[in-house]
């Protein structure tokens, strides 16, 4: 079997529309706890949309334009809400043991979204071209240099950090979020832990 045929068959098996957009879900999903994930993605939508406008106008625009500054504020606060909801989502899924029943990859990909998201935000902070950017870059350089990364990932180089922030890392985060969603929908949300009686008589 060649690679493309295997891929087609795999997609046909794993990407079932009824699983991707189901008409019904377990009743216990009707809970505020299950909204943190979608709120994280909604925040990401605003991070990306405001980021696109800021990138299109150039890195200095928001310093001299009131409209630009407002859009930067939208970008800033949507990053804050992104991490706020993401951390709530992370903790609640941890307490649910959401990796059970073959969902380990879903958890691992979600954690990668979190960690690379931190890197994306970090490069954003040092791409601001203001005092915060200067200071965070100056502080961050020693940590990067100490583990040998600084030679190739120079936090004092605005051009390199801006490229990482607006293209490389967002593409990776978006792809990982897409994969995370695909995995969540493919297997569905995890069942609650069995009760004592269910453990005795499964």
């Amino acid at each position: 079997m060649n690679l493309t045929t295997a891929l087609r068959q795999r997609l046909r098996r794993d990407v079932v529309l009824d699983d991707m957009l189901p008409d019904e879900l377990p009743a216990y999903v009707h809970s505020y706890v299950y909204l943190f994930g979608i709120a994280t993605i909604a925040s990401l939508v605003f991070v990306i949309l405001s980021g696109i406008v800021l990138a299109a106008a150039g890195p200095t625009w928001w310093h001299v334009s009131s409209v630009g500054h407002f859009l930067n504020s939208v970008h800033f606060w949507s990053v804050q809400t992104f991490f706020f909801f993401l951390v709530l989502h992370l903790w609640t899924t941890f307490f649910q043991g959401a990796w059970r029943d073959g969902r380990g990859a879903t958890w691992a990909v979600g954690m990668l979204c979190f960690l690379i998201g931190i890197g994306t935000a970090f490069t954003g902070y040092i791409s601001q071209q203001n005092f915060d950017a200067q200071w965070i870059a100056e502080q961050g350089k020693d940590a990067m240099n100490a583990i040998g990364i600084g030679a190739f990932f120079n936090v004092l180089d605005f051009g390199q950090m801006y490229g990482f922030h607006i293209v490389i890392l967002p593409v990776i985060v978006s792809a990982l979020v897409g994969l995370h969603l695909l995995l969540v929908r493919r297997l569905g949300v995890v069942r609650p832990y069995p009760t004592q009686a269910e453990e005795v008589n499964p």
Binding site: V16, D18, D19, P22, D23, E24, L25, P26, A27, Y28, V29, I38, I41, A42, W62, H63, H69, N72, S73, V74, F76, W77, T81, F94, F95, G97, W99, G104, W107, A108, M111, I118, A121, F122, Y125, Q129, N130, F131, D132, W135, I136, G140, D142, A143, N145, A146, I147, G148, G150, A151, F152, N154, L156, D157, F158, Q160, L187, G188, P192, Y193
Partner: protein, 330 residues
């Protein structure tokens, strides 16, 4: 729903759900939230600290920094990789130094890049600087060191009168006109491009000019804004805005005395974060850790309605029959 999911949810009460509707509502609610926060609270944008600002408002700090770059006493001059082959800031984890293994990729010679190079630009327009540079360049290293030391002594007793820096007399030779020329360049706002751009026209790399400022002026400005490492450093933001709160664990590392006092503090903190991140990713496959949520029991609160419903649906055990003793009372 696929047969796989149908089998998985057997025995679970299902309810109608519209993911698209949920997504649109989430976008609307979060949109109101972030636009509201942006409109009411705005966002921080403190202008960058410039060499021009330092040269104008704190000329003695500027000259002290410039002298440090020239005589090599600034920490960057002996920093080590990726800037040079120094050893002052080389860190290692046990016997391994990833920093040294990575090598020198951003070569920096503070005297040439931050002082002598920019001064050669000034020399084209300022004959006194050109003459001073020529004298300095033709002198022995020992003589240069003697002039620099004498200038440092004089600078410690210098006074600022208006915009002029008045140095007491001393044997500092050409170093005084050289650094006065650099101060003039700094005040004009042209020192940063001279440090960063040469020999390129287009530059988006501020490495050298930020390293120039990091000697004294930048840490002083950060300390006044409560942003230094002992104040939870880069996790904070200027003003009263939330910073990178998600870096709390990383910043916490620098508050641990054993780490903070180590010459390998950065390497230790980064290695610890790497290990913890790996543990977090691999939680599902780590025995014991993957059963922690079950032991903590917070899931009972999250799924309380489910368990309540489960308990209500559970078959009621038959009531115990009254014991009837023949001939006795019922």
């Amino acid at each position: 729903m696929s047969s796989r999911q149908s089998a998985y949810y057997r025995g679970i009460t299902m309810a109608p759900y519209d993911l698209i509707k949920e997504g649109l509502i989430a976008i609307a609610v979060v949109g109101v939230l972030v636009f509201g926060l942006a409109g009411v609270l705005s966002s921080p944008d403190v202008p960058p600290l410039t060499v021009q600002h330092v040269a104008t408002t704190a000329p003695l700090t500027f000259l002290q920094t410039a002298l440090g770059e020239l005589d090599g006493t600034d920490s960057i001059n002996n920093y080590g990789p990726p800037y040079n082959r120094g050893t002052g800031s080389v860190q290692s984890l046990g016997p391994v130094s990833l920093q040294r293994l990575a090598g020198v990729h951003i070569p920096i010679n503070t005297a040439q890049d931050m002082v002598l190079g920019p001064l050669r630009d000034v020399a084209r327009m300022e004959p006194s600087v050109a003459a001073a540079l020529q004298i300095f360049g033709h002198a022995s290293t020992t003589q240069q060191g003697a002039w620099e030391a004498a200038y440092g002594t004089a600078l410690a007793r210098a006074r600022v009168q208006g915009t002029a820096v008045q140095l007491p007399a001393g044997g500092y030779g050409p170093v005084a006109p050289m650094l006065t020329g650099l101060l003039t360049l700094g005040r004009s706002g042209l020192l940063e491009p001279a440090i960063d751009n040469s020999p390129r026209i287009y530059s988006t790399d501020n490495t050298r000019s930020i390293l120039f400022l990091q000697a004294t002026a930048l840490p002083a400005a950060a300390a006044s804004s409560h942003l230094v490492g002992s104040q939870w450093g880069m996790m904070n933001e200027t003003g009263n805005y939330p910073g990178q709160a998600w870096l709390w664990l990383y910043t916490l590392g620098y508050q641990i005395p054993a780490y903070a006092s180590s010459p390998n503090a950065d390497a230790l903190v980064m290695a610890s974060i790497a290990v913890l991140s790996l543990l977090l990713i691999l939680v599902p496959w780590i025995p014991g850790l993957n059963r922690l949520p079950r032991l903590l029991g917070v899931y009972r609160l999250i799924w309380r309605d489910y368990y309540r419903e489960r308990a209500a649906l559970a078959p009621v055990p038959p009531a115990p029959q009254p014991l009837v003793i023949p001939g006795g009372r019922p």
